[in-house]
């Protein structure tokens, strides 16, 4: 950290809040609020004389409120940069600090927050995690029983720079505990609070136990656990070393802690699963190994950065395996535990990875994106006529579309990833997607259903999952009906209702609407847009009186070739069971309704005109930095 602060190309801004982020990859504009410290950063040398004379003491959150700090303070002794701050909420304005500072004259009570805008190429988010508050679990008695402490409190009590100078004492009587229990999974792997495994607590419990055993060889230590998870290099060996040191590991999550009201000793009630019976052991002190949870202001940060959150509130990465440190928005990266609970090696690795990823952006003059972006026809957009719409902006998973009443919607090209959700959702047909224009797709549908359409099972597949599933079915030689005809679009979000109507209007026997499983969508929430539409379509077709099974919605991953072939075969069976006469009857009866509902197909009369239509949308293959968007 000290090295970082000294580096000529690194500008460390502490006590500064990011308030707004605008722009796009390589061209972010960021609004920063540099909060008033009431200490001049250029003059303060960190001597601490102001804190020495300050008469006000308030709880010190860095010490988990086990020790006080002054109103003139640094958050911890290793703070970088070493600058004191005056806590205005606590300060009584006695100005003793001004006197103590003397000729340095660093203290300035007239300071105010400063708002600055900065041009930023890439953003790395490293906001970390927070600790779960175990006082909401009544059975452990944290907050009621003085000798039940959290892991972080143990960390401070055990730290040679901590409030007790490393002397581990019981809060109730300040004696050294002889018997200590460590309880794992407090608030994690617990559906009442946080369902996830917090990743590092097993090793953390073992580390603490080993540390205590080394400092106090006579201490009795028990670790209560559900499962001990030691998956990385050297971890299992460390666990074994702990067992050999005589630390007891008890499999069984305690259901209750009771306290002797006189001695304040604690009784941990648990099952010892290895023994198969309930046990009650007495301890002097109990440490609760709390869950890692997202920072309390994670929602604010994600809305400022316009990035999504996974269930639970962690920032969501672009892809859990292939792009684990990228956010879905280009140019924003996640380092460390803000993306999910991580131990130190994993945090360091992800930090280095984000630096490399950000370096790629800073070192390139041009930034390549897929050419399949969306474009708005300004003359059609109703927003330009002063009407409130904004459906496209709501469908966009990337926040790439800006809608302002009175102006046509604008797509920030650099942010668009080409799912096509906005194109299909626009009720006025005012958006098109390059290389996946309505004309191109309708032309494909018409060509594939030109001959004996009633025999065909027509499949819409998304590029990333169900198309891969169909491909796998082929390469694995899973047999499926030869009457299957399918086209590929980028995402189920692009599967316009009009395409489905057109397929039925042309007389398709059955139509499959397929895409990724909800959690696997390549375009974050594209599948949700597609799934909502599919649900609506299913209802419409039901009302129309279409035979069940002729319209089918299936989420098929690229690994589910077997499922793809099975679904197609089942749909073929539906057509066969209906019989040709009945099917033809149904197609004819429903055709006028399909024609009435489809709006787009009249704009694209036939295949020959389709190429003109596509030419209008000549692709912008690379977007020059700074020339687009805002």
């Amino acid at each position: 950290m000290v090295d970082a602060a000294r580096h000529p190309n690194i500008d460390v801004r502490t006590y500064t809040q990011v308030e707004r982020v605008e722009g796009f990859v390589g061209n972010f504009k960021v609004q920063l609020r540099e909060k008033a410290r009431y200490v001049d950063a250029d003059r303060c040398n960190g001597c601490g004389d102001c804190a020495k004379v300050c008469p006000i003491e308030v709880p010190n959150p860095f010490e988990l409120n086990l020790a006080p700090r002054k109103a003139a303070y640094i958050s911890m002794s290793q703070s970088v940069p070493l600058l004191y701050t005056i806590d205005q909420e606590a300060c009584i304005h006695c100005y003793k600090c001004v006197e103590a500072c003397g000729p340095l004259d660093a203290i300035d009570f007239s300071q105010e927050d400063r708002v600055v805008w900065e041009d930023i190429g890439a953003i790395i988010t490293a906001t970390g995690f927070n600790h779960f508050d175990p006082s909401v679990i009544p059975e452990f008695g944290y907050g009621r029983f003085p000798n039940v402490i959290t892991a972080m409190e143990m960390e401070r009590l055990n730290n040679s720079a901590g409030p007790t100078v490393g002397n581990l004492i019981r809060p109730s009587d300040h004696q050294n505990p002889k018997r200590v229990a460590i309880i794992n999974c407090v608030g994690s792997r617990d559906k009442r609070f946080n369902p996830w495994c917090s990743n590092f607590c097993c090793m953390y419990a073992i580390k603490n136990a080993v540390l205590l055993k080394q400092m106090y060889p006579d201490i009795e230590l028990s670790v209560y656990y559900i499962d001990i998870r030691t998956p990385s290099k050297g971890y299992e060996e460390f666990y074994e070393r702990a067992r050999q040191m005589g630390i007891k590991f008890i499999q069984g999550r305690p259901g209750l802690i009771t306290e002797d009201e006189e001695t304040h000793n604690l009784y941990v009630h648990s099952e010892d699963i290895a023994l198969g019976r309930a046990v009650e052991h007495e301890y002097d002190m109990v440490m609760l190994n709390q869950a890692a949870v997202p920072q309390p202001d994670v929602d604010d940060v994600s809305s400022v950065l316009n990035v999504q959150q996974s269930p639970g509130g962690w920032f969501m990465e672009y892809h859990p395996k292939l792009r684990p440190v990228d956010s879905p928005t280009d140019g924003i990266f996640f380092a460390g535990a803000c993306q999910g609970p991580k131990d130190i090696p994993a945090s360091v690795a992800s930090g280095s990875a984000t630096a490399a990823r950000a370096g790629r952006i800073l070192h390139s003059d041009e930034w390549e994106i897929e050419p399949i972006i969306a474009e708005v026809w300004e003359d059609r957009c109703v927003s330009a006529d002063g009407k409130k719409c904004g459906i496209c902006a709501r469908a966009c998973p990337y926040g790439a579309i800006e809608v302002e009443v009175g102006k046509a919607a604008t797509v920030t090209t650099a942010k668009c990833h080409g799912c096509g959700g906005c194109v299909a959702e626009c009720p006025h047909n005012a958006i098109t997607q390059l290389h996946y224009t309505d004309a191109q797709i309708l032309a494909q549908i018409r060509a594939l259903l030109a001959d004996k359409p009633e025999e065909k099972v027509f499949a819409f597949r998304c590029h990333w999952c169900s198309y891969g599933g169909a491909d796998l079915a082929g390469t694995s030689h899973f047999e499926y009906s030869a009457n299957e005809r399918g086209i590929r679009v980028m995402c189920s979000a692009r599967m316009d209702t009009d395409f489905i109507y057109e397929a039925y209007r042309l007389g398709a026997g059955a139509v499959l609407y397929s895409g990724c499983h909800p959690q696997d969508c390549h375009y974050i929430t594209g599948q949700i847009v597609g799934a909502t539409r599919a649900k609506r379509l299913t209802k419409i077709f039901d009302k129309m009186g279409m035979s069940p099974g002729r319209f089918r919605v299936e989420w098929i991953s690229a690994a589910e070739g077997e499922k793809y072939s099975r679904v197609i075969n089942e749909m073929q069976q539906v057509i066969d069971n209906l019989g040709k006469d009945k099917l033809m009857d149904e197609i004819e009866t429903l055709r006028p309704q399909m024609e009435k509902r489809a709006r787009r197909m009249y704009e694209v009369p036939d295949v020959t005109n389709a190429s003109d239509y596509a030419d209008r949308m000549s692709a912008v293959m690379t977007v020059e930095a700074g020339n687009d968007g805002n």
Binding site: G252, L256, I257, T258, E261, E262, Y267
Partner: protein, 317 residues
């Protein structure tokens, strides 16, 4: 075995098909339920809900049906509130029990029985029971249709609330019949200390220290163990006071922690009502009292008894 269209349901699928049993597969065997449950500690060492859920998941049908866990769970749901997987464990056990009953297994518990020669068919027991075990039926006796109560053995958990509620004493349970409890209400006074009867619900005292403490009281404090505070009939308190005893203390579980769902509420209402009746009758002082003891109230019983004795002494002055 239950059958669906084309395949036999496995044991775990059968359990999951019964409302309450759905979430059995999410159990990761942490043992929280066992540490919360007092049946293993107090009554049956082989009682283990975690192991029963395991048996269900491993398809051990007969072992599950024979397990005491299947029959002894009284649905107090202490475990439910602390289960980290949100499994309604008593619901799963209930589902296993239902299958066991369907398969012809019978409960090994001591259950209540109704003396038909006394029963008037009033239905108070039906209203009182937390387990819907008693029901009324009609039978012809001497040419007349008469109503009687009968108890489903597999539903009865033996709390005795119906025994306490029955106005004519037609219901009894072996071990805790009215006579057996009343016969214990007797204190031979040797000193001039105030005398006190303590009715203690067996489930309200979690730790052995507290149970042992009760044994150590001198002769002027008489401790009577009952299966649930709901078993207390206000008449018992009156009998005690009538026989010259100075005070009656009833210890039940904390609200929401009753081993038999709601015995503590019923008992608290009855005792408080008796207390206010005695106040209206202008009898001196608080002679009867109900106290709640929670699972985390280690050592609380001592204070409650001392407090009651002290207040009786104070009243006397």
């Amino acid at each position: 075995m239950m059958e669906t269209k084309d395949k036999l349901l496995s044991f775990v699928e059968q359990v999951k098909a019964i409302p309450g049993g759905e979430h059995v597969s999410t159990c990761y065997s942490c043992g929280t339920c066992v540490s919360k449950c007092m049946i293993q500690q107090k009554v049956e060492p082989d009682y283990n809900p975690r192991r029963l859920l395991r048996m269900v998941m491993m398809g051990m049908r007969e072992q599950a049906f024979e397990s005491p866990t299947t029959w002894m769970c009284s649905e107090c749901d202490l475990c439910y509130s602390s289960c980290p997987q949100d499994i309604h464990i008593s619901g799963v056990i209930g589902a296993v029990k239902q299958l066991a009953v369907e398969a012809g297994y019978e409960t090994p518990l001591e259950v209540v029985s109704v003396d038909e020669s006394l029963c008037s068919g009033c239905g108070i027991c039906v209203m009182t029971c937390p387990y819907e075990a008693p029901h009324l039926f009609e039978k012809e006796v001497d040419g007349e249709i008469d109503r009687f109560s009968a108890v489903d053995a597999e539903k009865c958990m033996g709390c005795g609330m119906c025994v306490a509620a029955c106005p004519i004493g037609a219901i009894s349970r072996p071990g805790v019949s009215n006579q057996e409890i009343v016969s214990q209400i007797e204190i031979k006074k040797k000193s001039d200390k105030k005398t006190l009867i303590v009715f203690v619900c067996d489930w309200s005292l979690r730790v052995d220290d507290d149970v042992e403490l009760l044994e150590s009281y001198p002769d002027y404090v008489r401790v009577i163990h009952i299966p649930c505070s709901g078993r207390i009939d206000p008449q018992m308190a009156l009998i005690a006071l009538n026989s010259g005893i100075d005070g009656v203390l009833v210890c039940g579980c904390k609200h929401g922690e009753c081993h038999f769902k709601r015995g503590n509420y019923v008992s608290e209402c009855k005792i408080n009502l008796l207390d206010s009746m005695m106040e209206q009758m202008q009898l001196a002082g608080k002679r009867v009292r109900f106290v709640q003891i929670g699972t985390q109230d280690r050592g609380r019983i001592r204070h409650e008894v001392d407090d009651m004795l002290a207040s009786l002494e104070k009243e006397a002055v």
